[in-house]
Symmetry: C2
DNA sequence: TTATTTTGCGTGTGCGCACACATTTTTTCT
DNA sequence: AGAAAAAATGTGTGCGCACACGCAAAATAA
């Protein structure tokens, strides 16, 4: 017996058959007498056989092509991180015969998504990892992939009815709840809080809408406690920051805003677009909560303009997403249908330990 | 060329030598002419050769015995988690020929530590993973292991002068800083905060002392801002909770305490020992910050008695600790001398996503 | 019965690499 | 110069497994 575990050979010897036979029962290839089959199975149990994954992969000599359908990371800084995670996973999985095809799309353009999704489909990969930012347009492709029997994993944006193999990412709703808590903590009522969306088409962006729902529910929950005073919530839909309307709307807010405005929750990773205005208006004490450890956000975190960031673990999303496919295809493991990554609370004091990784 | 990457064979062909020669340069086994060596190296570069780890491990057919010297997890709930992480890593690494020997010691008894450390040393393992709770007693063993050329990795407790291959765990100092921030947030001066140690021999417990230092430094830093009022810090050394003196000291504190006592920071995972007293005295509004997601802590977190927990990621400490040894021995990777795990801030709203994993 | 198919099982090769050993070439010594 | 030693290089086997193939015995058909 090998230094380090039971081998097919050991089972074969113990059952008085050849390794070929053991292999056949192991893989249900048939062509083995029932009584022998039972005996082999018994021996495998007795010896507590576990296949050597290294040898298996090496011997099988199979390869898997995985397609990744993701926003182009050269167009938006947030999307670098998931891609880094995907690349890391790809490196590790290379030895297992996994290769990755990238299909980047422009994250604001539906047509680009549709086109790249089409290309990914036509590449006939063994599995697909996708960030389905566009709700409506995604559904058709899900159907196509089901038809083609291609397993697909979602990340970043959860679409419950997608029938995907798995979803990897945050619970957007609960992250909204948490944002509410972080704004409210230590700020007694009465007070006003704002939720700001930047350049989002809320109707077609599931996970941003979910954040808002969680945010509102946190305060709704608080309101059930009669001892609490009343909090007021406002919402502001801002256009793309390059649009002159962006500055106009924001300065209007800060000019006319009631003194009670105690905090702003930015529903995306773009808190850094708002922070400069707070500095300009000397409203740094106003609590600002946003998402993700982008360079620019970190800057304002250290300047005490941004108070909290919720880390969406984008790198891990990519990493785990690809692994979910590999677990299914290569390692034949059970894959959980939802892998919720933690809602990391980031402050100036602990941010250091979340960088790089 | 193989479906999926360059093989030794490919390099050999391109350099007009045999695989044996390539192998020799790859492993610096010597016995190869300098010009040939250079040529082979060049070819490896050109083809961007990366050894197939699976084949390497399989072919080498080596095995590694790793010893783990850790507090007995049947004696203290905290220490279950690191052990789970170690077991998980052990399962994954089994295929790579790694086996794990466990040397549990009683976490309050120096003699037990000494004895098990001795046993671990005598087992002559290929590597050692150790939680060096006892500062003085550990040092002697570090020397012994260096002499025996056995690489060792520290977790949980960082001993800078240990000359260890790596440390995996938190930055205790910074976790104290963070605890300070979490207590102070939204609680204006004047106010009093307490740091409570439970059943610890501070003089011989490095990482608890570091937590206190960080905690105090946070407020020292605040004091440099003249706009801030004054915060008062107190310290309480409590005996083991089974000791009647524990209840006595705690009730005395709550009886006689000035109204300004606004928060308590428990320096270990035993916040749940203090929480019941706060409930009994109806002082739940007093902010309580502790460590780790133990059952009992979670209970009081949900009851709003504990406000924040700092997650020490104990499971990951074990997991990464073992992997640090494997990275060194099996995978021949560079191992960072410090692997600081993040300081997760846990509240009722995000705790769910940190459980299990 | 003999010829043919089916079923049950064993054998052999290759995956990419490590490592021991055999063989060839070069250097050194007498 | 030839012999011996040393250096440089090639060859072969095994790691545990998957998978194709081949061969025997049993079942079926002619």
């Amino acid at each position: 017996m090998g230094k380090n575990g039971v081998r097919l050979k050991d089972i074969a010897a113990k059952a008085n058959v050849s390794v070929g036979t053991v292999d056949r029962v192991l893989h249900n290839r048939g062509r083995v007498a029932e009584d022998v089959r039972q005996k082999v199975l018994r021996m495998m149990q007795e010896l507590d056989y576990e296949p050597n994954l290294l040898a298996r992969t090496l011997g099988a000599n199979r390869s898997y092509r995985l397609a990744v359908l993701h926003p182009d990371h050269t167009l938006d800084p947030y999307w670098e991180a998931p891609w880094l995670g995907i690349e890391k996973a790809a490196r590790e999985l290379k030895a297992y015969g996994v290769s990755v095809l990238s299909f980047p799309y422009a994250l604001t353009q539906v047509a680009s998504f549709r086109q790249q999704a089409q290309a990914a489909t036509e590449a006939q990969p063994d599995g697909i990892l996708v960030a389905p930012l566009f709700y409506r347009e995604s559904l058709a492709f899900f159907t196509a992939w089901q038809q083609a029997q291609i397993p697909y994993v979602l990340f970043n944006t959860h679409i419950a009815e997608a029938q995907a193999l798995s979803y990897v990412g945050q619970d957007s709703y609960q992250s909204g709840v948490l944002a509410g808590k972080l704004l409210q903590l230590g700020q007694p009522a009465p007070a006003t809080f704002l939720i700001a969306h930047i350049g989002e088409d809320i109707a077609n962006a599931v996970h941003v809408a979910e954040k808002e729902r969680g945010f509102r529910d946190y305060f709704a929950q608080l309101a059930t406690d009669p001892a609490q005073g009343t909090y007021t919530l406002r919402r502001l839909d801002l256009p793309d920051p390059t649009d002159p309307a962006f500055a106009r709307q924001l300065t209007t807010l800060l000019d006319e805003t009631p003194q009670q405005l105690q905090g702003i929750f930015v529903s995306t990773s773009k808190a850094y677009e708002i922070a400069p205005y707070l500095q300009a208006y000397h409203r740094e004490s106003l609590r600002l909560v946003g998402y993700d450890l982008l360079e620019k956000n970190l800057h304002f975190l250290h300047e005490n303009v941004i108070d909290f960031l919720i880390n969406q673990n984008p790198k891990k999303q990519g990493y785990r997403g690809l692994y979910a496919l590999a677990d299914q295809l290569v390692f034949k493991k059970e894959v959980a249908s939802i892998k919720n990554l933690p809602l990391d609370i980031i402050t100036k004091e602990n941010v250091h330990y979340y960088l790089d990784k």
